[in-house]
Structures are given as structure tokens and as C-alpha cells.
């Protein structure tokens, strides 16, 4: 409390051409630190896929596919996608609570792009998704899942689902901004995800379903994502499904990221 430097308005500006990215990364660092300090946040993304794998493969697999091993080969990409998609809701719930705390008002009073706190949070979320993907793959391998393609394709599969989840998380953020309570974000998020995940080719072959359901399953982007993942992990056609999955992700991002940022800006 002894010395205080003379106030000055101008700040030394480091010669970076991407202040937006730098600010977002600083804020992502904040989110990661908070995650590491609350390891219970990782329970859902680590235990849930393992439990789902065990339930679907060992409880239902024999009945659905005749053999648990055959069903594991079929269902693992689906479980992977399902867990990652369900974990995208967390960011909406967390931001809904976080934004009521004072630190977001301070972010708003700083000369940083308005979207930086949101983008930063999504970058940190990708770490959680990557952990889910890793845990599911390891659990799958332990249970006997085997890939039959090249490492490049496996990495491409991981990146594809990660990108899809990152785009989907903007819907959760938007919900988090417009909902009054964190509980409603969770409720509506799960409600929306059920038809998207279960109403797809994730858990059963599409041709076993009634016609009206097949119609939905065929236009559901998650079906295309699942089929593309299957192709990348265990072989089969990829290109068309992957393109549709990528296109839908991009569309979701293009619609919901601006909506989320706008809702965040106007939420005073």
C-alpha cells in the first residue's frame, strides 16, 4: 500500500494479430483451472460411458444382436456419441449459474470481444469431451472392441464427434442464456437429446423400426454421424454420412453461436 504508479490510459499492446483468440484462450484457461479443482465434474463424462457400455452390451446386447461381442462392435460408436452429446448440456447449466456471479460483469467491463467468455468456455469444454472419448474407447478396448481401419481414420472419427459436440454445445449455451433456472436448461436439454440420440441408428439397425420412425431416423443428423463413425472405426462407407454430419454441425454453429452471443450480450 505504499507506492502506486501514475494512472495511464494506454496499455502496452503485444504484437498479436488475434486478440480474440488470445482472450478466449485466457478465459479457457480459467475454465480448465476450475474444472481441475472440481474433479466431480468429470464423473459424468468418465463413469457414464462405462456404465452405458456395460448395460447395453452385457444386459441388452445378447438379446439385440445375439452376441455381446457383436453388439459391442455395433454400439460403441453410438455410446461414444451419446455420452459426448449428453455432456454438452453441462456448459449451458454451468453458464446459467456462472453468469449470475459478478465475474461476468467484470468481463463485460473489459475491452475484450463480447463472445470471448463464451468461446473460452467452449474451448475448455472440448477437454471434457476429449476425456469422454478417451475413456469410452479404452473401456471399449478392454471389453473387446476392435477397430479395423487405419489410425488416421480413428483420429478422424474422434475429431468428427468432437466437432459435432462443440457445435451442439452452442445450443446448450443459448438455452443457458435464455432460461431463468439452471434446472430448466438441464430438463429441456435432455428432452431435446432423447429423440436425437435414441431416435437414430445408434442402438439398433434402422430397418428393424416401424416406417414412421425410420423416416425420422433417416433425416436425424445423429444417424449420419453414427454411420460415419462406424465407417471410420470398423469399416464401411464414410464420405456421404460424414459430409452430412459436418454440414449439420456447421449449420447448428452458424445459427446458435450468434444467437447465444446475442443472448449473452443482452443479458444484463
Amino acid at each position: 500500500m505504499t507506492t502506486m504508479t501514475v494512472p495511464q490510459v494506454a496499455q502496452p499492446r503485444p504484437p498479436s494479430s488475434l486478440p480474440w483468440l488470445r482472450h478466449s484462450l485466457s478465459l479457457a484457461g480459467r475454465s480448465v483451472r476450475k474444472m481441475v479443482r472440481h474433479p466431480e465434474q468429470f464423473f459424468d463424462v468418465t463413469l457414464q460411458p462405462v456404465l452405458f457400455l456395460i448395460i447395453f452390451v452385457y444386459v441388452l446386447g445378447g438379446a439385440i444382436a445375439g452376441s455381446t461381442q457383436d453388439y459391442l462392435q455395433f454400439v460403441l460408436p453410438g455410446i461414444l456419441i451419446q455420452t459426448v452429446l449428453f455432456s454438452t448440456i453441462a456448459i449451458g447449466v454451468n453458464l446459467n449459474t456462472d453468469i449470475k456471479e459478478g465475474v461476468f460483469d467484470r468481463f463485460r467491463s473489459l475491452p475484450i470481444p463480447r463472445s470471448a467468455p463464451l468461446v473460452g468456455a467452449t474451448i475448455a469444454e472440448c477437454l471434457r469431451y476429449a476425456i469422454t472419448i478417451g475413456v469410452t474407447m479404452v473401456a471399449g478396448f478392454v471389453m473387446g472392441f476392435r477397430t479395423s481401419t487405419s489410425p488416421v481414420r480413428i483420429v478422424a472419427a474422434m475429431l468428427l464427434v468432437l466437432f459435432f459436440a462443440w457445435c451442439m454445445c452452442w445450443i446448450a449455451i443459448w438455452l443457458g442464456m435464455i432460461m431463468r433456472e439452471a434446472g430448466s436448461v438441464q430438463g429441456i436439454g435432455f428432452l431435446a437429446l432423447f429423440p436425437l440420440t435414441f431416435g437414430s441408428s445408434m442402438f439398433a439397425a434402422t430397418d428393424t423400426m416401424p416406417g414412421w420412425l425410420q423416416a425420422w431416423v433417416r433425416i436425424n443428423p445423429v444417424t449420419h454421424l453414427t454411420d460415419a463413425m462406424r465407417g471410420l472405426l470398423t469399416g464401411g462407407p464414410v464420405a456421404q454420412d460424414a459430409l452430412i454430419a459436418l454440414g449439420t454441425s456447421g449449420l447448428i454453429l452458424a445459427v446458435f453461436a450468434p444467437l447465444a452471443v446475442r443472448a449473452y450480450r443482452t443479458k444484463a
Binding site: M1, P12, S26, R37, E101, V103, D105, R106, S109, P111
Partner: protein, 325 residues
């Protein structure tokens, strides 16, 4: 208005049918402290949020450090520091992590951010707690960290929104000293408060607002003249002395003195000499008293004088509810 660090004209903000600000004008010359005084719900926080670019006004205009809050909010954000009950820190991070984060967001390089955080932690006596989560800080430490956080970018203009509300008196002194230190460095400060005492202690000029309107503006001395200055309060030790003490008070102040309220006799005084005279007079007569004090008019009295009703009565229902809780 060239030398005004903050200048606002006709700021208006409505929420549905509620008018939070009803055309507020504010002017703060560079390097001075403006105290914005008003009860809960008067519009103080709304005004600060508009000036700090957190909120857009429905009408009116304002410049901060020469930049228009609507036209060039980024330049305003580069020039200001904000401390309030809302603009705070991340409780899950340590004091140091918070300050380093804000420095990074203000485009300090990593080493510069580290140095600036260390400097502020030392300045605000937070060295020992630097690496603890802000959540574990005491009320006074939190307030100091909030203040430090708003100073990271060495802003030319600082907004302090009720900086001492909820602090005990010794911590209040702490904050006051820090504000004085800031102003001695030439920083312009806009301070909102519910305490006339605080505005008197820190501000060069005081703007009184109520129900979203400016109802008085002037220096503390001018305001006190309007309100009637200070008052002398005496609590007799024995009921039988009430009449004698009343006589002493009226003789010294030259005004009639009313019945005691809640055991306190109150008389308006014009200067401190009258206080001494009362003490001497009472002592020479051997009249015992249990309490004797000189106090500024309360916010309620200020409002009573300015608006004809107390701060309580003119504040919003929320404020009243808060008061009752």
C-alpha cells in the same frame, strides 16, 4: 466539458413500466471524486452500469474519459475500473489467478501480468492470501481484491459502487484510505453510497439522487447548509436532568430544544465551538450524561429536508423489503 472525466446528460433507463433513471445529469471534473448519494433503488447502480458500458440507456448521452459510452464502448472499457457488488472476481480462483487473468485480458504480456498482479497484491496487503481461493477471503479481503481487480489496467476513471456496504467500520476505514490514495494519484472516482458520512469523507462534490432524478448537487459543505448541518446529541444519565440539559442546549445553540426521543436530546449546531461550550457548561453544573456526540445528519434527514419525506418512504418497495429482512 473539456475537463470532465465523466459527463452525462439526461440518462434515462426504463424497465417495463418502472423508470430506474429519469434523466440524470452528472459531471465529474478530472482528478476529483464525485459522491452519488441515494437510498436503495434510487438508480445509483443503474447509472454506474450505463457509464461502465454494461447497460445501454434508453435516452441521453454520456462520455467517460472523453469517449462516448455508446459510440466507442471499447475505448471507455480501456479507461475504466469498476468495483461493485456485481463486478467482482471469480471465487474459485485465487487472488493472484484473478488478477493475472484480468491483466491478460487487458493485453498485458504474461510476465507483465504476473508482475502487475504481484504489485497489486502487495499494495493491498493480500500477499499472504494470494494463492488461496477468493472464496475463502474475509469480507474486507474480498473488497480489497475487488478494488485491486479494478485497478489492474491503471484506469483513469474508477467507479466504486457502494464500496463499503456490508463492511464493519474498521474495514470501512481501510477502503476509505485506499480511495484517498487513488485520488492523490490523480484518478477520477465516481463513488456511490448510502452514507452521507462516506460521501463527506471522500467526495469533492456530492450529487443526491432519488427515484431516478438528481435532487441536489454541491459540495459537502453546501449540502450540509441546506440540510441544516450537524446535530448535537446528549443522553442524560438521569431523567430528572432532562429539563436542565434542555436549557443548556437551547442557551448555547440559541434555539428551542424538543423533547427527548428514545432518551436522546438533539439540537442542531452551527460550529464545533458550540459542542465544546455544551460540554463545559454541563461539566460546570455537574450534570452527568451517559453519551454526548456530534453527528452528521443521517441520509434519512437529508432526504427529509430535500424531498419532504424520508429516504425510507421514497425508496422502492424492494429497498423497504430489504430493510425489513
Amino acid at each position: 466539458m473539456t475537463n470532465h472525466a465523466i459527463h452525462a446528460e439526461g440518462l434515462t433507463k426504463r424497465y417495463g413500466t418502472t423508470t430506474a433513471l429519469d434523466g440524470i445529469d452528472l459531471a465529474v471534473p478530472e482528478g476529483t471524486v464525485l459522491g452519488v448519494l441515494g437510498p436503495n433503488g434510487a438508480g445509483k447502480t443503474t447509472a454506474v452500469r450505463i457509464l461502465a458500458t454494461l447497460l445501454r440507456p434508453d435516452a441521453g448521452r454520456a462520455t467517460v474519459a472523453g469517449h462516448d459510452v455508446l459510440g466507442d464502448p471499447d475505448a471507455v472499457r480501456r479507461s475504466i475500473g469498476l468495483t461493485g457488488q456485481y463486478a467482482s472476481v471469480d471465487e474459485q480462483l485465487s487472488g493472484r489467478e484473478n488478477l493475472e487473468l484480468f491483466a491478460r485480458l487487458l493485453d498485458f504480456t504474461r510476465p507483465d501480468a504476473r508482475a502487475r498482479a504481484a504489485e497489486l497484491l502487495a499494495q493491498f496487503g493480500l500477499d499472504d492470501a494470494a494463492d488461496r481461493r477468493a472464496k475463502t477471503y474475509s469480507g474486507g479481503m474480498r473488497r480489497r481484491l475487488d478494488l485491486a481487480a479494478s485497478l489492474v489496467g491503471r484506469p483513469a476513471v474508477i467507479f466504486l459502487d457502494e464500496p463499503t456496504t456490508g463492511l464493519d467500520p474498521s474495514k470501512r476505514d481501510d477502503v476509505w484510505n485506499m480511495v484517498r490514495l487513488l485520488t492523490s494519484e490523480g484518478t477520477t472516482v465516481l463513488l456511490t453510497t448510502q452514507y452521507l458520512e462516506e460521501a463527506d469523507a471522500l467526495a469533492d462534490a456530492i450529487t443526491v439522487i432519488d427515484l431516478g432524478r438528481v435532487i441536489a448537487h454541491g459540495t459537502a459543505a453546501e449540502l450540509k447548509q441546506v440540510v441544516g448541518g450537524r446535530s448535537l446529541q446528549v443522553r442524560p444519565a438521569h431523567l430528572r436532568d432532562v429539563a436542565d440539559i434542555r436549557a443548556v442546549l437551547s442557551r448555547v445553540t440559541g434555539r428551542p430544544v424538543g423533547e427527548p426521543t428514545r432518551g436522546l436530546l438533539t439540537a442542531p449546531v452551527e460550529d464545533e465551538q458550540q459542542f465544546t461550550n455544551v460540554v463545559v457548561d454541563l461539566a460546570s453544573r455537574g450534570i452527568p450524561v451517559t453519551e454526548i456526540s456530534l453527528s452528521l445528519p443521517s441520509l434519512d434527514e437529508v432526504f427529509f429536508t430535500l424531498t419532504g419525506q424520508g429516504a425510507q418512504a421514497s425508496a422502492t418497495a424492494t429497498a423497504t423489503a430489504k430493510e425489513l429482512a
